[in-house]
């Protein structure tokens, strides 16, 4: 089945953030399909369904109840079924430890949640339009953190 849209999934426990996220995409007017989950467990339940449509880009919040973003990242990276999913870390924190850890675990990009809605729209559109092929092959810490 030929996909006409980019399938995007977000796992974030914060309701406001999920709202900003979906609002930003609806305002961007790109052909995307956005799905959100409340925490890591819900996300993994979805991904592990046999007939699940796997997302093109997965946004992972780090600090979630029940199953953290780091744990989800580890599970996804240990299963070859999910090899084609591009993973973007989507977090409030920009601490060196978190950036370092997620990079080592194999995340593709790290986004610090902006405090301006327009900035959010810009960063999300940037992420979606990245040539993922290029970004994933040249794993490079320099362009891992997407700066605004």
């Amino acid at each position: 089945m030929q996909k006409e849209y980019i399938h995007i999934v977000l796992a974030d426990d914060d309701e406001d953030d999920r709202l900003f996220f979906t609002d930003a995409f609806s305002e961007l007017k790109m052909s995307t399909k956005v799905q959100t989950y409340n925490d890591g467990v819900a996300l993994m339940d979805y991904l592990n369904q046999e007939d699940a449509i796997l997302p093109n880009v997965l946004f992972l919040d780090l600090n979630m109840p029940r199953k953290s973003g780091i744990e989800c990242l580890q599970e996804i990276k240990s299963n070859s079924k999910f090899d084609n999913i591009a993973i973007a870390i989507y977090s409030t924190s920009s601490s060196e430890e978190h950036i370092e850890e997620t990079f080592v675990l194999g995340a593709n990009i790290y986004i610090k949640k902006p405090n301006d809605f327009n900035a959010l729209k810009k960063v999300l559109s940037d992420v979606i339009t990245i040539n993922w092929q290029y970004h994933t092959s040249g794993l490079n810490k320099e362009n891992f953190l997407l700066r605004m």
């Binding site: 914060d14 406001d16 953030d17 900003f20 600090n63 409030t92 924190s93 601490s95 949640k113 902006p114 405090n115 301006d116 809605f117 327009n118 959010l120």
Partner: protein, 596 residues
């Protein structure tokens, strides 16, 4: 061997002693010999006289015999025969006596033999006369005359021999006398000389002995003093010493060893059991084992154990010991130190460390809260404001629009506060790596950071060439950046800010402001500006957290920037001072040690 060292050695005394005894024996022997010789001499003299006397006596008897013979011829008295017999006997007796006295002399014996044969001849003549009968008196006849004179020649010969013998005795006496006299002269000289030598030796030994005695006395004094000082140091240092002679198995405890256990010194005879009974039951086996090891291993690290003093007080002792071998005796020497205070202090330090660590963890937790949890609601507030401004600004009343912009400003200020606080807490964290860095580079980076502000205010920054230094690069960059920012922020209106950065080398002696024990050489970096300045009384206060001298409407700021500067300088073991006067600009002086 050198004479002086020989004199000092104990062998010298022994030799003097043996020599003195030998000399005394020698003198005794000489004296004995001398007295012997004297007795001998007087005996000889006596002997000589005796010989002469006896010879004279004998001659008299012979004369008597002659007279008796003549009497007989004249009177023809038969009784005279009897008298003659008596005279003969007396002559024999005298002869025997002389023989006896002159026993040792060969020449005298020869003469005696001659004398004897002459006397025999005399007897023969007398006997032949006695056989005749003169009763018919043929006085005046030739035969009678011949008989009368018959003994005369023999008598003459006898006299001659006797005289010879007496002469020999006399010459002998003379000879002996001269030998005796010689002896008398030389012997006292020898004795005197040897006595003199003995005296000298005795004086030397006396001097040496008194010197040795003095030395021993002074050594003894020194020993007493050092003993007293070691006693004192044991009391001050709170330690005691003990010894175990491994050959005799005898223990010796120092006075303080008793005191450590709560006894008076020498309260009991030093022994292992009385000591071991004070040891805490849990440590007993360990102490026993280590003590055994000490004997065989000779050198052992110190170990700690607990004891109960006589009054039941629990103390911690640290002990160590080792075996020394002195003049073939193996002695285990040990020290016992009361380390209770040290251990208690250590426990306190550990406790404080634990508290510090938990405090530190709390701080880190706060850091996380500040960096994450506080930022999150703020970020949402700001995002909602941005949405509100984008979408619904036109629907608000004028005052509503004003409130919204106020809310926006306040949120922005809060963001700056949180960011600055985070930065401040980051400078306290342990992740500091010192590396040799070119300070000029750091200054350039700091200028880049502040580029927008510099351009905006048309600020001019002049700096001397800075050195390379062992620093935490990002912190020093932050320091420069904050100082530049501070100077530009508090610049005078409509006057372009000018910042001059100068550097000199100083040491602790020449600069009374710095007083460091570990470092003596410092770089003194001065940032001076032409800004609004401040009153000198606030010079210390401005470095404390959240201190602001101006209303935030006049000058933006959080009161954290200079506190961060101070923290960074403290991390580098340096100093920072501020000098200022209102309207005359400010000067910030930094001291950074040349070597960390």
């Amino acid at each position: 061997m050198n004479i002086l060292s020989f004199y000092r050695s104990p062998i010298f005394l022994r030799i003097v002693f043996v020599l003195s005894i030998a000399i005394i024996f020698f003198i005794a022997a000489v004296t004995y010999k001398q007295i012997n010789a004297l007795t001998n001499s007087s005996n000889q003299v006596l002997n000589t006289y005796n010989v002469a006397v006896e010879l004279e006596k004998m001659y008299t008897y012979i004369n008597d015999l002659e007279t008796a013979k003549r009497d007989y011829i004249a009177s023809n008295d038969q009784t005279i025969k009897f008298a003659i017999k008596i005279h003969q006997k007396e002559i024999e007796k005298a002869l025997l006596k002389v023989e006896k006295i002159t026993k040792g002399n060969k020449t005298q014996r020869e003469y005696l033999k001659i004398l004897r044969s002459l006397i025999k001849h005399k007897y023969y003549i007398v006997n032949s006369i006695l056989a005749k009968d003169y009763s018919n008196g043929i006085l005046g006849s030739t035969e009678l005359n011949n008989d009368f004179l018959s003994g005369k020649k023999v008598m003459y010969d006898i006299r001659k021999v006797i005289n010879k013998m007496i002469t020999i005795e006399e010459s002998l006496l003379n000879k002996r006398n001269s030998i005796y006299k010689d002896n008398q002269k030389t012997t006292p000289l020898y004795i005197y000389l040897t006595l003199l030598i003995t005296l000298v030796l005795l004086v030397l030994s006396y001097v040496k002995m008194s010197k040795d005695l003095n030395n021993i006395k002074s050594y003894n004094n020194e020993l007493l003093v050092s003993n007293e000082s070691s006693n004192l140091s044991e009391i001050v240092g709170n330690y005691g010493t003990w010894q175990l002679n491994l050959d005799t198995n005898k223990y010796t405890f120092s006075d303080n060893e008793y005191r450590l256990l709560g006894y008076e010194p020498k309260a009991f005879k030093a022994n292992l059991d009385d000591f071991m009974k004070h040891i805490h039951p849990d440590d007993y086996e360990m102490v026993k084992e280590v003590t055994l090891k000490m004997i065989y291993q000779e050198v052992l690290p110190s170990f700690t154990y607990r004891i109960y003093k006589t009054n039941g007080e629990l103390r911690h002792f640290r002990a160590s010991g080792r075996v020394v071998t002195k003049s073939e005796e193996r002695i285990l020497i040990g020290t016992t130190t009361d380390v209770t205070e040290v251990i208690i202090a250590n426990q306190e330090i550990e406790e404080r460390n634990r508290i510090l660590e938990s405090n530190n963890k709390e701080l880190q937790a706060f850091n996380y809260v500040a960096s994450h949890d506080l930022q999150e609601p703020l970020r949402k507030i700001e995002t909602f404001i941005s949405r509100l401004i984008d979408k619904d600004l036109d629907n608000l009343s004028e005052s509503g629009q004003q409130y919204l912009s106020r809310i926006n400003a306040a949120a922005g200020r809060m963001r700056i506060l949180i960011d600055d606080l985070l930065q401040f807490s980051r400078t306290t964290r342990a992740e500091q790596v010192f590396m040799k860095t070119d300070l000029n580079e750091l200054l350039e980076n700091a200028k880049q950071e502040q580029a927008q502000l510099i351009e905006e205010k048309k600020a001019i920054i002049n700096n001397e060439t800075l050195p390379e230094l062992e620093v935490v690069p990002f912190q020093i960059q932050q320091l420069f950046s904050n100082l530049i920012n501070n100077s530009i922020k508090y610049s005078k209106e409509n006057i372009p800010p000018v910042i001059n950065i100068s550097i000199t080398e100083v040491d602790t002696e020449s600069d009374e402001k710095i007083n460091s024990i570990t470092n003596t050489k410092f770089y003194k970096i001065i940032f001076s500006d032409n800004g609004i300045g401040f009153e000198q009384e606030y010079a210390d206060k401005i470095f404390t957290l959240f201190t602001r001298l101006h209303n935030k409407d006049e000058y933006a700021g959080t009161g954290i920037g200079l506190a961060i500067c101070k923290k960074i300088i403290e991390n580098h073991k340096g100093y920072i001072f501020a000098n200022s006067e209102i309207d005359r600009g400010s000067t910030f002086t930094i001291y950074l040690p040349k070597e960390i």
